[in-house]
Subunit: 137 residues, 2 copies
DNA sequence: TATTACCCTATCGGAATAGTAGGTTAATAG
DNA sequence: CTATTAACCTACTATTCCGATAGGGTAATA
């Protein structure tokens, strides 16, 4: 399951990317439009700024704006920042690998082999979709 | 992320399916072999029995045995029983649909459209793999 | 009749999620 | 220069869920 944090983060990025002008967008505006708790959204956008997706401007007329070209941001990178691993089991995660403490042998583990397939198909979808792609929809 | 419950359940089913004879397998044996908490595993197997995957025999020489042909059990059905929805967001779940309370319109929601693609690719993988398939590996 | 092994209910600690609260800092407008 | 604006930061909290544990009850076998 996708956490609300990730969901809200993607929706916020989409909202910003859909702006006709490049002027900063206020968190309050996004929060109201997307029905997200204002304070919760703030913490998410701070994280996205620190990750290099967004720039921020303080004071009146301030807000958040995109730094990178939406067409250059695959959804995998956004989700990895907000959600963490994309794989359904740590032992098949490419970026957050962790060995199962119960598993003797990954090669003969039925779950492991199956989840590799799921991971690959998911990565394919999320890798082929950029922020620009999902903004169009 | 896959819960340990689902992971253990799949491993247990695989363990039973890999038995050379059709004699019942004890929970204690599975728990020890797969490094699963015995009591926790019991509760999982009860659920799989109630769902119609397993039969149980009490008393000495008792245990659990497969009722259906492993080749006739797609992984989707097992995961849906143990984990619940396969989709990453309730609003794109086929079997456990729930409307988002924050979303105005699913059609224009970027997350919604993206997660439909993820769901479909995941369903394809899990639907094409049966218990027999992952047992072979 | 004793043993075995599934079955049932209840409980529980810990971690994570989804916020909430309250103040601080920096930029802009007047 | 000052007031306002809006991002920024820290800390706290309520709730939920997960994974597991405890302790016995029930049915089948030897």
């Amino acid at each position: 399951m996708l956490s609300k944090k990730t969901k809200y983060g993607i929706k916020a990025l989409t909202y910003i990317a859909r702006q006709p002008s490049k002027k900063p967008v206020q968190t309050a505006e996004i929060a109201e439009s997307e029905n997200i708790s204002h304070k919760f959204l703030e913490s998410i956008l701070v994280q996205l700024r620190k990750a290099g997706f967004l720039g921020a401007k303080k004071g009146k007329g301030g807000g958040y704006y995109l730094i990178k070209d939406p067409a250059e941001i695959p959804m995998t990178t956004i989700i990895r920042i907000l959600e963490g691993p994309i794989a359904m089991v740590p032992c098949v995660s490419l970026n957050y690998y962790e060995k199962c403490d119960d598993c003797k042998d990954e090669v003969t583990c039925s779950v492991h082999q199956l989840m590799i397939q799921v991971r690959d198909s998911t990565l394919k979808v999320l890798g082929n979709n950029t922020l620009a792609d999902i903004t169009k929809q």
